[in-house]
């Protein structure tokens, strides 16, 4: 629902990074989005296309790599994938777990011309 705001933030960060390098154009933005952030890639790409119009990122490809939810069990030290939002260790049944992935929302790098 708030993809537009997220798209605007992506544009701001990418343009600032590109301008620092004196770039004329941004052709691609590579980002990661954890599953817990509830980002709908198609919707975000659509919103990005709108906010990027008339900027140096106009027409840039927004590559969104989705990151699955993973966790570490503090009880038995195992690492596992969290499925269906069940925050419980599949090995020992403990609920003392720390998330290790799935909450990211980060721009990794951009490609410029």
């Amino acid at each position: 629902m708030h993809e537009m705001g997220v798209a605007q933030n992506i544009l701001d960060i990418a343009v600032a990074a590109a301008q620092k390098e004196g770039a004329q154009k941004i052709t691609r933005i590579n980002m990661i989005a954890g599953e817990l952030r509830g980002i709908v890639p198609m919707q975000l790409s659509f919103c990005f296309g709108i906010v990027a119009k008339d900027s140096i990122a106009s027409g840039a490809y927004l590559n969104i790599e989705e990151v699955p939810v993973t966790a570490h069990c503090e009880n038995c030290n195992s690492d596992f994938a969290v499925e269906e939002y069940q925050y419980i260790c599949p090995k020992c049944g403990s609920t003392k777990i720390q998330l290790t992935g799935g909450t990211e929302l980060r721009i990794k790098d951009i490609e410029i011309e």
Partner: protein, 240 residues
């Protein structure tokens, strides 16, 4: 052809006449929000405010809970409220009747409050005269969980008329909240809401979540909520 241009830059493609370069960015998309939230948090710490980000779907009882809270905290802790709504000042008007500082933020169309909107209200609310500041977010079970505003805790309300499966449908909200208040328990007999099922579902997505059952209209269970507030305010004041 690929070669390292500099430590954080890689030329990824050299086509005839064109030069493309990859730049390492590694920045959180919501860093602008997070930075302002951190500033808000500093201000809250300075003024010794316990700050709660109160979230729920529309009509779950956020404003009703705050009306009761204003009544029950009177003479004990000084309450302040920042209310976010898409339109109207109805909620702030309801709160203002209790003679507590309240500010209405109308977001226009935004589905959540962000740190910047909350920051804009802070100079006007008188933080030095507030012990507990509640930021009543826009009614929505999705977006508000994404944006921190500088709060100590997220608190959410689930009302029995919404259904006991909501924690599984909107896990982020329940995962992020320290406390889930189940409101409208007086209506349990008229619905197919299963209280134990709702709690079990919430604990599946957030094993450590605190849960309090209340009815704002009948006034039941509110003592547990006031105790929760008092305890967490004490904890915050003690950590200074």
């Amino acid at each position: 052809m690929l070669y390292t241009y500099a430590r954080n830059k890689t030329a990824v493609n050299i086509a005839a006449g064109g030069f493309r370069m990859k730049i390492n960015v590694m920045q959180d998309v919501l860093q602008a929000n997070d930075r302002i939230a951190a500033e808000n948090k500093q201000l809250f710490k300075k003024n010794n405010n316990l700050v709660l980000n109160l979230m729920s779907s529309p009509g779950a009882g956020k404003t009703s809970l705050l009306e009761k809270t204003a009544e029950l905290l009177a003479g004990k802790l000084r309450l302040g409220v920042i209310v976010g709504d898409i339109e109207t000042t109805r909620d702030a008007d309801r709160i203002a009747k209790y003679n507590i500082p309240s500010i209405q933020l109308t977001t226009g169309s935004a589905c959540h409050l962000d740190a910047n909107m909350v920051a804009s209200a802070l100079p006007h609310i008188g933080l030095d005269k507030i012990d507990v500041l509640v930021v009543e977010n826009v009614g929505n079970l999705v977006c508000p969980a994404e944006f921190i505003v500088g709060e100590d805790y997220k608190v959410m309300i689930l009302s029995v008329t919404e259904g006991d499966e909501k924690p599984l449908k909107y896990p982020m909200m329940f995962k992020e909240s320290s406390l889930m208040i189940i409101n409208k328990v007086d209506l349990l007999q008229y619905t197919n809401f299963n209280l134990e099922e709702a709690k079990a579902n919430a604990r599946k997505v957030h094993p450590g979540i605190d849960i309090i059952e209340v009815s704002c209209t009948k006034g039941t269970g509110l003592d547990a909520w006031i105790a929760w507030l008092t305890e967490h305010h004490k904890k915050k004041a003690g950590s200074r």
